[in-house]
């Protein structure tokens, strides 16, 4: 088995070789500008783009015309929130989101607040799900948009999207969802799910980096978005800029493979994930799963190993690529805001590891990872004064610590 092992598929995924093959001709041969209407170079590029648009639409139950290409989900989220806030400013100025959104949504909201938009950040329950009654109560006659992610990038918890959509529809409010983690992992269908706007990106689904899309509903209701960049008026005027043809072709191919292979792949990934989880839970005490296990992506496991600090654990498993919610691994020296929002306490955030399984992980790798993590956690607990105290029966919550 080759080391290191990549198990950080919520951060990004390995490009699928089949996707790369699909993209290849669009670098050297089909190099035309998809907006060039008067020669074959342009037509061929446009053909590639339109095929991709259809492949994406087919995966999410949309029509091709409802797909707007962007540079990735950060841009898609920015465009959705800012574009709606600007377009519907006469109707209202209130947006509802939640505290565990990705920074691309939260920081966009923060900026909108500076220009007079009011934003409600819904809390989440201990299982990571929002409370639908709180959502309903938060809606006012000024509310124009609800933005709730499909599934969370750290804890993999899948929000009750269809229920949220029902409430939004009832109140005549648009519903946007950042679905980057869910697309290709669980069935996402903009019709059945009742989504008006949705962000997705290629590199989380074995496609290339630097390309994404925004689904914008055209009928019932017809959603309008004010462009946030000025230029040639590409993408139905919503997003100017020459199209990234190879990237778009890659996104399309990635969506097609996802559509065909998702049922089988999701079953396989959830089997591997559960094997990893069971091995860890059966061999270690005081291990806590962060977020709902029931409403969860098939390939996510976020788990806290009490009394062990996350970065030191990563150091011990340095031939495995995973992430930690520990403060020491973040630039801000703050533990994960997502885990803090679950209310489990900062100490468990410091002790958390996120495993993100993917298409190219094998059962052999999962066994290796489980054994290695068990070994290192046991070693670090031998080193941990907290583990020693807990074993002596000391209630750590009653100790007066010298916070620093």
């Amino acid at each position: 088995m080759e080391l290191p092992i990549y198990m950080d598929n919520h951060a990004t995924t390995q490009l699928d070789a089949r996707v790369f093959e699909a993209m290849k001709p669009y670098f050297l041969e089909v190099y035309g500008n998809a907006a060039s209407r008067n020669h074959s170079f342009g037509w061929e590029a446009e053909e590639g783009v339109e095929k991709a648009r259809k492949q994406i639409a087919d995966l999410i139950g949309a029509t091709a015309k409802e797909i707007i290409f962007t540079s990735g989900a950060t841009e898609s989220n920015n465009l959705a929130l800012k574009g709606v806030a600007e377009m519907y400013s006469e109707r209202g100025n209130h947006i509802i989101t939640q505290v565990i959104e990705h920074k691309a949504v939260l920081d966009t909201c923060k900026r909108l607040e500076k220009s007079g938009v009011r934003v409600t950040y819904l809390p989440v329950r201990q299982d990571g799900l929002i409370d639908l009654d709180q959502l309903r109560d938060a809606i006012t006659d000024k509310t124009i948009l609800i933005s709730i992610m499909y599934a969370n990038n750290e804890i993999g918890v899948v929000q009750p999207i269809q229920e949220i959509a029902k409430i939004a529809k009832e109140k005549g409010v648009l519903f946007h969802s950042d679905a980057v983690q869910a697309i290709g992992k669980v069935p996402v269908n903009v019709g059945q799910d009742g989504l008006d706007i949705m962000s997705l990106t290629a590199h989380k689904l074995y496609g290339p980096k630097g390309v994404g899309a925004l689904y914008v509903r055209r009928r019932n209701p017809r959603v309008q978005i004010t462009a946030q960049m000025d230029g040639g008026g590409h993408e139905r005027g919503m997003r100017s800029g020459t199209l990234n043809v190879p990237g778009i072709v890659g996104l399309g191919a990635a969506c097609e493979f996802a559509r065909k292979e998702m049922p089988e792949e999701s079953r396989r990934l959830s089997f591997l994930r559960d094997k990893l989880k069971d091995k860890l839970l059966n061999n270690l005490d005081e291990v806590y799963i962060n977020g709902s296990m029931e409403h969860r992506l098939p390939h996510n496991l976020n788990i806290s190993f009490a009394y062990v600090e996350g970065e030191s654990l990563l150091m011990g498993i340095n031939d495995i690529a995973v992430s930690s919610g520990s403060a020491c691994t973040s630039a801000t020296l703050e533990p994960s805001y997502v885990l803090k929002a679950l209310g489990a306490g900062d100490d468990l955030a410091h002790s958390s590891i996120r495993f993100g399984l993917g298409r190219f992980n094998t059962e052999e790798q999962v066994d290796y990872v489980a054994n290695k993590v068990i070994d290192v956690v046991q070693k670090l607990r031998e080193l941990s004064p907290l583990y020693e105290m807990a074993k002596e029966g000391v209630d750590l919550s009653k100790v007066s610590w010298t916070a620093h």
Binding site: Y307, E309, S312, M315, D347, L386, A403, H404
Partner: protein, 137 residues
Amino acid sequence: MAYSDKVLDHYNHPRNVGSLDKSSPNVGTGMVGAPECGDVMKLQVKVNPDTGVIEDAKFKTFGCGSAIASSSLATEWLKGKTVDQALEIKNTDIVNELSLPPVKIHCSVLAEDAIKAAIGDYKRKQPAPEREAFSVS
């Protein structure tokens, strides 16, 4: 982040891990940090009461690799020093020895605090007859 060879060495082969009898009058125990901050160090010294020399030092640390290395190094340095010499160990000495980057300086500060706390605990346990005699009168 890349760790220095010395941090890796202490992380992979921590020195003097363990616990001493905290109820012994010759053992000083220092516990600093907080779980919610992501690091807690427990450092203990066993002092020869006649010579004032630290005969043994043990640690246990919950924290990142640099915190583990800082406390492991501290126990190495403490052994053989007198109590007063131990108090001269500065966090910057640890930073230099382990080549800690700026974001990890707090680990060395914590180790210095742990040394001071352990020595302080030891000193509190020692009888101070003269001062007591004065305070009676």
